[in-house]
Subunit: 482 residues, 2 copies
């Protein structure tokens, strides 16, 4: 698409983080707003990130014994009402099909906001004996939740996700599955997205509608706010009761299944943008970068032909060792424009190849973030060096984000310190666990309980807000959230 | 899932082809009916076939320069009406969201039946100059078309597909793209699905709503009926006009783009079932078989442990050379039951490993279709032999289906022969090209013009039905169709 010189400038993060995000998503060509309210067009560059993330998730989902399947988009309205908490939670967000094929429907159809109900209905047909358990199913799909304050990737009326749904013989096996989901998300967030996360259990007020227990991973964005980037739910027997999911045990007795579900969505892309991005634009972790390396051949006329040929050869060599490379062959654009463009798009490594580089037998390498400036790298060493540079950059991003989160996470014991802490990050506090107290804290500070971190140190005392005895037996995280 | 002995029996094809199909889809666990009318649940075994087909298509779509993206499910109702033919064609099939977020919407939203309109709207924003062309986009998505007579895979209210949408500077480039789409489908149908197809142009009455030209691939099912398995459209400037898709040419003048689109869906799975299946069940082409080889270890107690260990080792060796293998470890099921089960599921190759096999150092190999019966294959030769057997079986299926189609395709010149020909297959005829005459033929025989085959021999004369001068300059195919 055509560009003008100042199109790379976005509002600095420090000035207005929200404006920075909104501008960047569109200018880096990740996504556009769709015509219907709250909908999103995911452009090729954004979709390529999603495909890389999908592949990482899909591999792990299959490796842990889940099989992909596909369930209908349209759910009879009556299904939602079978699980009381579920319908209460989702009713305000539903999109409803009332007419189809030129007629009014006898029963309205809900566009799936999540698929526990319709998958529960099918599970009840498929499961008859203990031999059918556990039943481990995953679906890649679009879902719709009507959003009043939509933001690209973070809260859109329609989003893409995967949703795992499973049925088990007992609570222990369903809880084991719930933790498999959570561990998968910790792995993908940390090792693929370079996004350090805290995994833990949600408080009662923040549970998924219909769940007995909800676990989440929470990442800290560069404005100090939290992003819930994936959730895993132990659903007890609620959906099994609502949809009659029963099995015959070894003695022939009929027993309700325990079910679980977990999901991660295109929201994760918003998390990657806000975990790593800076005033120049995106910064993509190499494992999710559509282009890990961009090569810009320099010069004019005959020289450009020579540098382009050299760039193509380097590209071919790097591709042969599995590096995702793009050679920027656009004409009528200055090198400076191209550098800004790829920096805005977050490409980890840029190689410039000019006449002097070729004379010296090198390429000039610039990392997206570096304190060392540009480096001359002998052409013959690129194939060995670039994969290492990419690995190092991946690790650097994770370490930087982890340090940022630690700097902005404060254990606090009094209310004034709490109010201060949640303006720039997270507060680690003792809390009474009462929903009314959570509501009060949210009212005053906009901060909400993010989760009760797994493996937190045992500690008791009094609630940071109300002074009543603390719950959970440990500190929990409060922060403002997306 | 638990099984009983006679669950493998399906109505024979010769007795009732339609019943055979409907029973087989459910019993082979490819798909189930969803709760809302005409919707489909694609079960893991069916979805695995779809994933293999997706991968083949996606690779080819990307290799020809297209980029994946994602556009919204919901399209403002007014968009559809901007292209008169398009809305006329799709209006009767639309599902409409009238309420969302607890309120009636100001403008109703259509659930996409196809995405020309919403993608056209975005193309008009993204395209400004000739440098932006061609713009080559692909989407993997679900679409909804309300069906009055739904059948699993063949006609479902919601189906999964890919849809390529492209914009070009002129007709020649858009037509070139249209033929890239068609060639991709011929390649995938023939070389991956082992489904011989005739590619050609649709007659005016059978065009996609809004297209200038529509091309299709048509396969012949084993009941002699045609299945349109993929279509590619040259859309002229209709959608460019409706959505203002213009570009500045090199002199700065504003010019309308020419657009094209092509799509292939989960319907293709129905085509595979009906091209290769027989009275025992599915027959899957190896390139789309989730399990290319199933190994059944035989014996009881200690012997079973030994044969299972041997089966696992063979499986590991075959996986190492890229063969998709499953070892059937189910207990309490007889060997005969397992053989019938995998035959019904269309697995190309079954290996049985029993005590005598191990003593002789062999596995007993049975092909899903073979005149040679079972063969003893030395264990040490399996890794070399199985890939060849699979390739041969793939070729055999294509040759068999091609021969079947040729036997059931008849050039006819008089009406009585036409009526006879379309009861068991296709008629190759001269036709006047008048829509009224097409309608008349359909009324009397249920046969419709499938397409005007590319590369057909030049021939003129009079219409097989009405005696008026023939159109197209060649014979065209008529047949009953799904």
């Amino acid at each position: 698409m055509s560009k003008k010189g100042n199109e790379h400038a976005v509002t600095p993060q420090s000035e207005d983080f929200s404006a920075w995000y909104n501008e960047l998503v569109v200018r880096a060509e990740l996504a556009d707003r769709g015509p219907a309210k709250g909908t999103m067009v995911i452009r090729p560059y954004g979709y390529a990130i999603w495909e890389l993330l999908q592949k990482e998730l899909d591999t792990r989902i299959k490796a842990t014994g889940h099989q992909n399947a596909y369930f209908p988009l349209f759910i009879p309205e009556s299904y939602l009402t079978r699980e009381a908490d579920h319908v209460e939670g989702f009713a305000p967000e539903l999109a409803v099909v009332t007419h189809a094929g030129g007629k009014k429907l006898e029963e309205a159809l809900v566009v799936r906001p999540t698929s526990e109900t319709i998958i529960g209905e099918m599970f009840s047909k498929w499961i008859s004996s203990y031999r059918d358990l556990p039943l481990l199913i995953n679906q890649w799909a679009n879902v719709v939740r009507w959003e009043l304050r939509p933001r690209l990737f973070l809260r859109t009326t329609e989003f893409l996700w995967h949703e795992v749904h499973t049925a088990h013989a007992d609570e222990a096996d369903a809880m084991r599955e719930t933790m498999v989901g959570l561990a998968t998300y910790v792995d993908v967030a940390t090792n693929i997205a370079a996004m350090p996360v805290v995994s833990g259990e949600k408080t009662a007020g923040e549970r998924f509608a219909g769940a007995d227990k909800t676990f989440s991973i929470e990442g800290m964005m560069r404005d100090g706010r939290a992003l819930q980037a994936g959730t895993s739910h132990y659903l007890g027997t609620s959906f099994a009761k609502a949809f009659d999911i029963q099995y015959a045990d070894e003695t022939g007795g009929r027993t309700l299944c325990h079910t679980a579900s977990w999901g991660m969505s295109t929201r994760m892309i918003g998390g990657i943008i806000m975990t790593h991005g800076d005033d120049k634009g995106l910064v993509l972790p190499p494992r999710l970068a559509p282009y890990q390396v961009v090569i810009v051949p320099l010069g004019k006329a005959e020289l450009l032909e020579t540098t382009t040929a050299a760039a193509q050869q380097v590209a071919a060599e790097l591709r042969a060792v599995g590096v995702r490379v793009h050679v920027d062959l656009r004409v009528n654009l200055s090198p400076g424009f191209k550098y800004n463009d790829w920096e805005m798009k977050g490409v980890p490594v840029r190689l410039e190849i000019g006449g002097r580089d070729l004379e010296a037998g090198v390429a000039t390498m610039a990392l997206r973030i570096s304190e060392d400036g540009k480096l001359a790298v002998p052409l013959a060493e690129l194939v060995a060096k670039i994969p290492v540079v990419l690995e190092d950059f991946q690790e650097f991003l994770l370490a930087r984000a982890t340090a940022f989160r630690e700097e902005h996470t404060t254990p606090v014991d009094d209310w004034e310190a709490f109010v201060e802490a949640v303006t720039t990050g997270w507060a680690l506090v003792l809390h009474c666990g009462r929903p009314e107290c959570e509501d009060d804290i949210k009212e005053v500070t906009k901060a909400t309980p993010r989760n009760v971190p797994l493996g937190g140190k045992a500690e008791t005392g009094t609630c940071v807000r109300c002074g009543q005895p603390s719950a959970y037996g440990q500190r929990i995280i409060f922060g403002r959230a997306y």
